[in-house]
Amino acid sequence: MPDQVTQTRQRIRELLVEMHGPDSFVRNVSDTVSLRQQGLSSAALVSLLVRMEDAFGFEWDDDIQPEVLRSISSLADHVVALRV
């Protein structure tokens, strides 16, 4: 499980790098910090969520709580929980 979480976080980072480039805020952002507070726009978040659906093979649900979308860590935890 810890490996799964680490790998998922890394894949989400890769998706963010695909969107924003390697020299963007992604380089220094920690797993637990709020992505929005790091400057991720709502349009960019929508794009990330679409990319996650493709990358991890699932579809988001309208009932997802706001806390799930806050950070790389919370996003990864959600993906891993779906696979259990």
Partner: protein
């Protein structure tokens, strides 16, 4: 940037471009940054000024929440602070009430008003107020995320909702939750339930008026919008196909073109 107006209150504002001044008026769910992507083309040939209302966003939050009169006085206070003689007012939803009030109270400072997805109605505002009351109840009893879920399908057009899908619903919610506080929205929605609602006031608005309505605006029909525009002495109406209550989000370029055309026509006839 911040401009000082009455009572030591400071209003956060942004100003872009040069030319005839278009001053945006936030509805209570918006703050200044939201205008950037829907006025970028307008600011090529116009000066677009956006600001946070008193008691909202990055502007001062006085102990007592402002009245409609305070908001109207702030518009002129901001124009004075920026040494702007006259401006076009670009309003949306509930801020169309503010545009009406400023045009009535300070006719010499208003060159024209744009009412996008008006809260004003040709026979009154009761329907809109019932909707706002329902939003307020949801906010007070269930919180911000529930309010977002409540208003999302009422505010956005069906085409946009389908296009954005669940990622759009969830992603825009993050922005909604970050831009406002529960207290700010509660204050704004309570104010929205007050003030003059008679359509008879509209006949006294001297400024040229453009009503822009999405034909998928669930709060006002296209025929209702045309009827509303006819209440103004110099009113006209533009209908945006497929757009919802915030038509500038459905088609930012199309909306800006309508506003630019309106401003240019008024300027040409000045």
């Amino acid at each position: 940037m911040r401009a000082r107006v009455r009572d030591g209150v400071e209003l956060y504002y942004e100003s872009t471009g040069s030319g005839p001044v278009v001053l945006t008026l936030n509805n209570f769910f918006m703050t200044t940054p939201a205008w950037r992507v829907v006025t970028d083309e307008l600011s090529v040939a116009h000066r677009v000024v956006s600001y946070d209302l008193r008691g909202h966003g990055r502007s001062s939050h006085p102990e007592t929440y402002p009245s409609w009169d305070d908001h109207a006085d702030d518009v002129v206070g901001l124009l004075d602070a920026l040494e702007i003689d006259k401006a076009y007012l670009l309003s949306t939803s509930i801020s169309t009430v503010l545009a009406r009030d400023v045009a009535l109270k300070y006719p010499d400072r208003v060159k024209g008003i744009v009412l996008a997805g008006p809260a004003l109605g040709p026979r009154g505002m009761r329907r809109h107020r019932l909707v706002q009351r329902a939003w307020l109840l949801t906010l007070e009893h269930h919180g911000m995320a529930a309010l977002y879920a409540h208003l999302y399908p009422e505010v956005f057009g069906a085409e946009m909702i389908e296009e954005l899908g669940t990622p759009g619903f969830l992603g825009l919610r993050e922005s909604f939750l970050a831009l406002s506080t529960k207290e700010d929205l509660t204050n704004g929605l309570k104010l929205a339930l007050t003030g003059e609602s008679s359509p008879d006031l509209l006949a006294r608005v001297q400024a040229p008026t453009l009503v822009v309505i999405g034909d998928d605006d669930v709060l006002l029909s296209p025929s209702g919008a045309q009827e509303l525009a006819a209440k103004f002495p110099d009113g006209r109406c533009e209908i945006m196909p497929g757009a919802g209550h915030l038509p500038f989000l459905d088609d930012a370029s199309g909306f800006q073109a309508l506003v630019a055309k309106f401003v240019d026509e008024v300027e040409a006839n000045a």
